[in-house]
Amino acid sequence: MTDAQAQTDGMVIASDAGKPLAERHFLEVRFGGSGGQGVILMGVILAVAATRDHRYVVQTQSYGPEARGGYSRSDVIIARNPVDYPQLTGIDLLVALSAEAAQKYTGFVRSHGVFIFDSGVLATPPRITADTYGVPFAKLALEATGRAQTANILTLGAVVGLTGIISPDSLEKAVLSMVPKGTEEMNQAAMRRGLELDGEEWRVR
């Protein structure tokens, strides 16, 4: 996606304009972070959960050739009709777990979009005309489960709690079916902690 393409809003459905994310017919979601944070898994879990909600879903990813470190991103299109073009033409919901991802992708977020970032890695987020939430996900995960690695699942819970784009029930089923065996309870706790976050408390602008 280049700057020029970000402005086209090619696939946006006119009737979606200005509506809350949960009511839209076509939604483009990006998770950005660095390799090892579980960013691609977040996209896959959201995609599984959204198909459980009977949506048409396409999930793609982009990553560097290295196994760890480097950039990593996971894109999900959630739609009420079959999806043709499989990649994003703009971003309605951006979730950034690294400062680099926030810097790199905020320019593509559409107006009336939502931007959620980890305030533990990014003190002052780029100013954009989207609802912006800053939550110290890694810190909250450590408090809730004792493991910072559950931050990605906690973040997913927060994404669903703050935006309502899919049902919490579908998210829970998807999380339980996708996380490694033996970690279900811990991840469930992380997800629930994320779900119960109060939007007003964490809203930046």
């Binding site: 086209t8 090619g10 599984v48 073009y85 499989p86 990649q87």
Partner: protein, 392 residues
């Protein structure tokens, strides 16, 4: 239809979600269409096909081999095929290059075989995690000599399933190697898909038949009687030009007849082999011809074009070779120009131009930066071009 579903694989696919990765759908299609032998060597972005086959094949009584390289992989598949097994291998550009000589051998030995090439950016090692359609002409002419080629192109997860099944069927019925092309985006993406719903994805060209005799189709009449190893008699298989006995011949007449039959068995059955889908048929002044992931961009561009009142039709090709001459010429007769978006420097546009240039102008829209062509880019190009080419 009774499919030989692998239940373990089915269980790992969330039944309520049916979110399936392209490469997994390919493996699932292979298992469902009776593939019981897979030899391969892992390579991004095709490795998940091999991973899935490694786990699943032993559970259904099949054989999986990881070989030392791609040459050994395809040769093992040819060997298995000659004993009557349904064999498949999967790779990407660099491995596909290594396989070329053996593909020619399989064509001459008439060994049924499916080769899946999940294309990545080339040449050489290129960019392993980015999509490309740079192997199209390699799939047609990568091995030497005048040989037949059946080449299919998948554009989504459902295609990865059903075109793998089509490839298996075509390989068995025409006794020849069949190449299924996909690209990094199609192979790695996850999408809502249920194998049970495959009948919903019909093609305007008349789908291949999933029911009667699907798993063991009759051979077309041009195929030479197969020499199956391990059965009675003294079979003889060779890459040399041979006659019906299987033994080499230097007779000019027999040589010509042999090569013509190889050629004819594919080209004379275009009506069966050429799978395609026309959107907005007969309503466009211009036509976008596309395959693989670019066809998805083209379909999205069609929706934008309708909103903006541009008269466009889309010809989505699932079979690239044998060349779908009839449908391309039908489109060429009624359209001002044909636009061909593809992730290479116009490889397939040249093929279409050969068929269509008597009637219309063929314009190539190639892109080689490792990103997909967006619907907006296609529409912008159409807007530039429309009205510049009068109907002849």
């Amino acid at each position: 239809m009774e499919l030989w579903h692998s239940h373990i694989l089915r269980e790992t696919i969330d039944q309520d979600s049916l979110l399936v990765q392209g490469n997994r759908a390919c493996a699932l299609g292979a298992l469902d269409s009776g593939v019981r032998f897979f030899a391969g060597y892992p390579i991004t972005p095709s490795s998940e096909i091999m991973e899935t086959m490694a786990r699943e094949l032993p559970l259904v009584g099949g054989v999986f081999l990881q070989m030392e390289d791609e040459i050994a992989s395809i040769c093992a598949c040819i060997g298995a095929s000659l004993t009557g097994e349904v064999a498949m291998t999967a790779t990407s550009g660099p491995g596909f290059s290594l396989m070329q000589e053996a593909i020619g051998y399989a064509a001459v030995a008439e060994a049924p075989l499916v080769v899946v090439d999940v294309m990545r950016m080339g040449p050489s090692t290129g960019r392993p995690t980015t999509p490309s359609q740079g192997d199209v002409m390699q799939a047609r002419w990568g091995t030497h000599g005048d040989h037949p080629a059946i080449v299919l192109a998948a554009s989504n997860v459902a295609d990865m399933y059903r075109l793998t099944m089509a490839a298996v069927r075509f390989a068995q019925r025409f006794r020849t190697p069949v190449t299924l092309l996909a690209d990094e985006v199609v192979g790695h993406m996850r999408e809502s898909f249920a194998p049970e719903l495959v009948g919903r994805y019909r093609l305007t060209s008349g789908d291949f038949d999933f029911t009667e005799g699907y798993l063991r189709p009759d051979m077309v009449r041009e195929v030479h009687p197969p020499h199956t190893l391990g059965r009675k008699g003294h079979p003889h298989v060779t890459g040399l030009i041979h006659d019906d006995t299987g033994f080499p011949t230097n007779d000019p007449k027999k040589s010509e007849q042999f090569l013509l039959q190889l050629h004819d068995k594919v080209v004379h059955h275009r009506d069966e082999l050429c799978l395609y889908d026309v959107k907005n048929e007969g309503k466009g002044r211009v036509c976008i011809v596309a395959y693989g992931s670019c066809a998805r961009s083209a379909r999205a561009a069609l929706k934008l074009a309708k909103e903006e009142g541009l008269p466009v039709e889309v010809l989505h090709l699932y079979t690239l070779f044998p060349l779908p001459v009839e449908i391309i010429q039908a489109v060429a007769r009624r359209c001002e120009f044909i636009l061909i978006p593809e992730l290479n420097l116009g490889q397939y546009a040249r093929e279409v131009r050969k068929m269509a240039e008597n009637w219309t102008t063929v314009i190539s829209m190639g892109k080689i930066d490792g990103t997909l062509i967006t619907p907006r880019e296609i529409l912008d190009r159409l807007e530039e071009l429309i009205g510049k080419y009068e109907s002849i």
